[in-house]
Symmetry: C2
Subunit: 402 residues, 2 copies
Amino acid sequence: MARAGRLPGETVTIPAAMTIPSRPMNFNPGPAALPRAVLERCRDELLDFGGTGLSVMEHSHRGAAYERAHHATTARLRALLDIPDGHGDAGYDILYVQGGASQQFAVVPLNLLPPGGRASHVVTGAWGERAIAEARAVAATAGGGAPRVVASTVPAPGDERTLRRLPRPGEARSEGGDAYLHLTTNETIDGVQFATAPGATMPDLGPAPVVADMSSDIAWRRVDLRQFGLIYAGAQKNLGPSGVTVVIIRRDLVEAGRSDIPTIFQYRTFARHDSLYNTPPTFAIYLMGLVLEWIEELGGLDAIEARNRAKAGAIYGVIDAFPGFYRCPVESGSRSLMNVTFRLPTPGAEARFLDEAMAHGMTGLQGHRSVGGVRASLYNAVEPAWADALAALMRDHAAKHG
Amino acid sequence: MARAGRLPGETVTIPAAMTIPSRPMNFNPGPAALPRAVLERCRDELLDFGGTGLSVMEHSHRGAAYERAHHATTARLRALLDIPDGHGDAGYDILYVQGGASQQFAVVPLNLLPPGGRASHVVTGAWGERAIAEARAVAATAGGGAPRVVASTVPAPGDERTLRRLPRPGEARSEGGDAYLHLTTNETIDGVQFATAPGATMPDLGPAPVVADMSSDIAWRRVDLRQFGLIYAGAQKNLGPSGVTVVIIRRDLVEAGRSDIPTIFQYRTFARHDSLYNTPPTFAIYLMGLVLEWIEELGGLDAIEARNRAKAGAIYGVIDAFPGFYRCPVESGSRSLMNVTFRLPTPGAEARFLDEAMAHGMTGLQGHRSVGGVRASLYNAVEPAWADALAALMRDHAAKHG
């Protein structure tokens, strides 16, 4: 099996299709791969959670057995992500909500953009475009203030030549009086990610609290959360199954949120009730707890970051080693380590590559239907050996067809 | 083991605590018991869904394997509940949304109560009160019309003597021009349920489309859905785990809904995209499909209705056989077959009873914390033998302490 960090041109042997184990190498963009050890544990205790004789799904969310799992997941998130626990602007609440990041596109402005308020949006891809569209609908129907685009780096439709990119320094800044600045830290379809260099922090984004969609950017490395006022993340990339969304929100913003909107949309409802105001998605929160435990056992965020960097490095290494055959549509400083997007010379060549990958037991590599091409999603539970195998296949394929 | 349909006064032997199997008899109010056969199948295929080598949780919601499960669940719901499939007002869409019934309290008026519109609410318990409170917040902040209470049967706080009940005939009617009439067909906390007599239909509720919270009333018997314009139901009572909510909505109401609210809150978004507009809670929808298959194998809704009637009959039979000891706080024609609520002479007597039930392997019998007392939730997956064992324990307990 090939290794990460190989030199360009080094010869590697790709495994024959027949030796691929029956478990596919899963590069799905989300819902995505889950750790094998987590699935095995879930299976083993599915009919008897914690010695209760009941499945975790059969426990009341008001009962001691589930509540232990619920609060354990929260404690693990707080410890692993180093989420500050102080008062006011020195602490953050951890909320479990439903509806995915797509629902947060509307719920964020419902809470934080009161009548007369204003929000700045930075748009680096398709998800950022959806987010501002929903904020506009909230402004139009819920009496909230208006959102505006302060920076968009999305090429015009049909523009294939312009590389996708992050904003240039100083290009994306909030202004005094903005309620918040919204951005998407990793665009899964476009393959654009903020601050991926080792130790990098977010650029200067101006004075307003930063609200970040981190669905595909959470928990793959250590991040100083004090750079953000609010982050939200659907669990189904790096944290668990679909069906639960994590919101991490500065406590002063919880309190400042609108209190005239429906109770179920107010962040304070979830903060005050530890996300047990109404029935939460108990199984998804339980399973997220198991994934967090698995990350701890791997060595925590530093260990998983090294693992994730090696995976992305292996794929980008091959792309850059064969510039006449593979092409990444993203500027090199803006490339995502979670979703590596690349093109081959023709759609036919892309289809042939995807067929060959499938024959080698690799699944989920099609680019998003809106853009085409190839996309390798490399979330936490993607095994380094899978990324190595993909890199080896890419080399072999380029040598044969390039 | 005791049988259902026992005569008052008949002697039965309750099982000794030590002979109770390690799997508790689960009377939880939701999340509730799931069929053992469903849990076993879920366990057995947890790491390999449909021969794919991946867990169902690891599949993309855009992939063929998950989509088959998704559409199979919908086809099963349509067949089992006999959901009409015609155009306009002769057909209903089946939607999977998130956030529970509590979110629908706000989403229904967001969609169906435009500026200048008006909705009538019938309130028979705590959930109906929450529903109208959220509708009022929508009216206040989203420019929608006002909701009003046309009938409330909730006793004043602290009024212990007045029995809970359904509205009297003619007491709860919409008026011409109402956008809809909202009610809660089963109140889980108060134990009040509409139309429980065999073959009963809903009372005359006036000309407006009826919107019904059927979270705890769906799929336990055959119902003519054409009595309703929209029903919604959290899955965690009769259908599956928490984390998915089923909406069944007449197609003309989908199209008539507001289109200026955020996309993620519009029913038409879910209808047009088969609930795959954004990532659905895939595992919960898959598991609901397994529960529906289990109902089919039991013999469908007629079989499960007979089973459910026998369970409730066993418990109410004991309550009525010992009127000096057990007391149901609901009028006899309004009693819920899903949530049997009853009181003992004193809080101390209730605590002693709950302790004894626990010692006999019965769990989840505490009344809701807002009202106290005892509550036996008897959803689809509660085994008839458990209800029989509870009835037997109640007889024994009354004989000993009454």
